[in-house]
């Protein structure tokens, strides 16, 4: 197989995504999750578990958009690596800063 043909096969493989119906279903799920987030915000009985619940629901929306709308589920793992490198570093930085300036008493702002 020539180099050009290999490139075209790669391109065609990564270009194949999901159907419009599937995208509509993902959109509906995202809408429902947002509605659930807002609903539980107003339920006093859930105030004790509100933060972890909201974080899980937010992570679910984040994952759905990244996997299916941004096509990381179907695309090359190289793209996932490039994105995750930044995301993991960003998460570590945020957690480290919060621990440093909100948790450790000697550094509290």
């Amino acid at each position: 197989m020539s180099a050009e043909a290999t490139i075209m096969n790669e391109h065609e493989h990564h270009g194949s995504h999901a159907s419009p119906g599937f995208y509509w279903a993902i959109g509906a799920v995202l809408g429902v999750i947002t509605a659930v987030e807002v609903a539980i915000f107003y339920i006093p009985a859930l105030s004790g578990v509100l933060v972890p619940l909201l974080l899980v629901l937010s992570a679910a929306k984040f994952t759905l958009v990244v996997m299916f709308f941004m096509h990381l589920k179907f695309d090359s793992k190289i793209f996932s690596g490039l994105f995750l490198a930044g995301l993991v570093l960003a998460t570590f930085m945020t957690v480290a800063l919060i621990i440093l300036f909100q948790v450790l008493p000697q550094y509290k702002v």
């Binding site: 990564h14 995504h17 995208y23 941004m70 793209f79």
Partner: protein, 199 residues
């Protein structure tokens, strides 16, 4: 022969991995943008609860209104993937409809943000009022600037489609614009939860 002809017509450059260089570069850019927005979110979180004068977040943030604007932005992401699907299928009509949808929904989100900022200023919250005002306006303002850039990008693509200059061979252009748009959407997912819902 057919492949060679297609490649000759395809003006995209490919890396040694066989992946389009534009797309590889853009994913690297998105990775760096994660750090940019994480620094702004971190600043907000570090100064959370440190304001010594009001207005405070719990007094001023409007959850029902922001829920609607969040829904609008999520639906714009749906319109974006459908626009990409339209381009890949070579349907000018679908491309124009869904790119138009992205533009309208994106402009709608910006309208909500302008209304919110205007309301907050009238309530006495400005960039210099307290640390909540400073960190909130910088974070959501930079996000709004990204959405504005995205809307302008979508308008240029819509004009290209209207002139018949957006063919299936150009789908990578729309895919990359889509990556940017979805990234702006996932940043808002994080902002909505961390700033508005977790008070």
């Amino acid at each position: 022969m057919a492949d060679a002809a297609t490649i000759a017509h395809d003006d995209h450059h490919y890396t040694s991995t066989g992946l389009p260089s534009w797309k590889v570069g853009f994913w690297a850019f998105i990775g760096s943008e994660c750090l940019f927005f994480a620094s702004l979110i971190s600043t907000y979180m570090v100064y959370k609860g440190r304001s010594i004068v009001g207005p405070y977040p719990e007094e001023i943030l409007n959850i029902p209104l922001t829920s609607i604007s969040t829904f609008v932005l999520l639906m714009s992401s749906l319109a974006m993937v459908l626009a990409l699907d339209g381009v890949q299928k070579g349907s000018r009509k679908l491309t124009l409809i869904w790119l138009g949808g992205v533009i309208v929904l994106g402009a709608g989100f910006l309208g909500f943000q302008v209304y919110e900022f205007n309301h907050f200023v009238h309530e006495g919250l400005t960039l210099g009022t307290n640390v909540f005002g400073s960190s909130f306006y910088v974070l959501t303002g930079f996000h709004g600037a990204h959405v504005t850039g995205g809307v302008i990008w979508m308008i240029t693509l819509w004009i290209m489609a209207f002139r018949g200059k957006l063919t299936p061979a150009d789908s990578l252009k729309v895919e990359i614009a889509g990556l940017y748009w979805h990234f702006v959407d996932i940043v808002w997912i994080a902002i909505f939860t961390l700033i508005y819902l977790i008070q």
